[in-house]
Structure formats: C-alpha cells, structure tokens
C-alpha cells in the first residue's frame, strides 16, 4: 500500500514537474512550441512502450466515437496555457487554480449528468475553492495598484 501511495504522490509531482520543464522551454521558445514538444516527446515515449508491451491497435478502436479523439487537441491548449501561466503566477498558484477549476467544473458536469453525491459537500467544496481563488489573486490586485 505504501508503494501505491508513493506512486500516486509521484504522479502528482510529475504533473508539476512537467509544467515546470515546459515553462522553462516556453521562455526560450513559446508556450505553443513547448506544448508541441511535450506532445511529440510524450508520443514517442508512449509509442516505444506500446511497441514493447504490444496491443498498439486495440480491438475496440473502430467503435470509438469521434469525440474520443479530441482530448489531444484540448491538451495542446492546456499545456500551452500552463507553460504561459507558470512564468507569470508561479507553480503553486498555477497548480492550485487549475485544480480548483477542475473540481468546480467537475461538480457542474456531475450535477448536469445527475451523478449522485452529497450536495452539502459539493457546495461547501466549491465555496472553499472560490474563497481560496479570491484570496490568492487579491495579492495580485494589491500589487497592481
């Protein structure tokens, strides 16, 4: 179990690490170019794993709907935005606000799709996140003045 906890923590560390590295690349190139390299290098790495493990052309692929393919293009904007933001508001603020946005939009989607869950927990969670957002950006506002 300790191993899996370490693994799940490391997965989080790596998300921030890749944003840090892509942020550095975007300083020398541009956020969009950093996103291009991120995707190309990731593709080559995953292709190597796929070739080693096998199953590169899974059976179910022909049944996948068109929207199963658009996560990639959305990811390009996501990575470019992260690379751009990290140089401006820092690593912690970027991570916190992206997580907050992910959680709040997740609640909206869940409510829309009727996914069961405690309404009080969802509401309180959203309120806490929004309060954190207001607090963290108020520093920016006071600096700007």
């Amino acid at each position: 179990m300790i191993l899996y906890i370490g693994l799940a923590l490391s997965a989080g560390l790596l998300i921030s690490l890749s944003r840090q590295i892509n942020g550095r690349l975007s300083l020398s190139t541009s956020p969009l170019q950093a996103s291009f390299w991120n995707h190309l290098v990731g593709f080559v790495a995953l292709l190597a794993v796929g070739l080693a493990v096998g199953g590169l052309w899974p059976e179910g692929l022909k049944d996948a709907p068109w929207h199963a393919y658009i996560g990639g293009p959305i990811g390009v904007i996501f990575v470019a935005a992260g690379s751009w933001l990290i140089a401006r508001i820092g690593a912690v603020s970027t991570a916190l606000l992206v997580i907050g946005g992910q959680m709040v939009s997740g609640v909206v989607v869940d409510l829309w799709q009727g996914v069961p869950g405690a309404l009080w927990a969802r509401s309180l969670g959203v309120v806490l996140i929004l309060a954190g957002m207001v607090l963290i950006q108020s520093r920016a506002k006071s600096r700007e003045a």
Partner: protein
C-alpha cells in the same frame, strides 16, 4: 521582500485563466477516458499525444509570426523532455486507480503531490524558473483550495 521582488505577481485575469484551464482539464479527462473505455489507458494516452502533436503543428502554422525572438535564450536539452513526465504519469495513475486507492485516492494524493512540488519549485526557482516566496495569504488560499477539493473528491460524488 527581496525574494518576492524577483517576479511580478501576475494580473487577476491570469488567475482567472488558470481557473478556466482547469475546466479544459475536465473536458480532456472525460474525452480521453472515453477512448480508454473503448481501448486501453495506454492507447488513449498515445492517441491524445498523437492528435495533440498534429493539432499543435496546425496551431503553430495558423499563428505563425515572423521574427519573434524569445527572451529566455537557448533552451537546455532537458527542457524538451517535459513530455516524458506526462507519459510516465499516465502509467502510474493507471496502476493506482486499480488498487484500494481507487480514483478518489489517486486524485487526492496526486493533488497533494502537485502542490508540494509547486511549493518547492517556487521556493528554489527549480529548473530555471523564477523564484517566488509564498506569502501567508498564499498559504491560506492553499489550505482553502486543497480542503475544498478533498471534500469534493471524497464526499461530493466526485469520480465514483
């Protein structure tokens, strides 16, 4: 004070953009998850990186501007390897969601990992990025956002 002066604090609109980016993440996970259901998590990530590479080329061609010189000088070679982290993350998460941690535990621990690395990265300006000391206000905001997220993940119906 001296440390804080290293970088500008950003504008409020930057923070709003970061929040909106989180919404993109929800969409991305949902579409990639759809592909993973029809195929495998590995194939889903491979496809996302492949279609993403093509999309990035298209965007770069559409937005091409001549003569823009970036301020950061020549990028070190390691700066091109950010994509490796993403590829490894997919495999790690693919393992932990199928243990007792499930998706909620994987998400919650991942969130903690992201924030811890972010704190260290800002504190020491890791990987050639600007150094920033988190203020007391930043730490309070951190507590609020992490608490709210954990609440949603474990009690809000969240992923399960």
């Amino acid at each position: 004070m001296a440390d804080e002066a290293v970088t500008p604090a950003g504008r409020p609109v930057d923070y709003l953009a970061a929040f909106a980016t989180g919404g993109l993440m929800t969409l991305m996970i949902s579409f990639n998850g759809e592909m993973a259901r029809y195929t495998t998590p590995l194939f889903s990530s491979l496809t996302a990186h492949g279609t993403g590479t093509v999309a990035a080329v298209v965007f770069l061609l559409l937005l091409r501007r001549g003569g823009t010189v970036a301020a950061g000088g020549r990028a070190p070679l390691w700066a091109y390897l950010g994509g490796i982290c993403g590829a490894v993350t997919v495999m790690m998460s693919g393992v932990t969601v199928n243990t007792a941690l499930a998706l909620s535990g994987t998400l919650a621990l991942g969130l903690v990992g992201q924030v811890l690395f972010g704190l260290a990265a800002d504190r020491w300006g890791l990987f050639g990025m600007p150094r920033r000391m988190p203020s007391a206000r930043d730490m309070a905001a951190l507590g609020l956002i992490v608490a709210g997220s954990i609440l949603i993940i474990f009690l809000g119906g969240g992923p399960e």
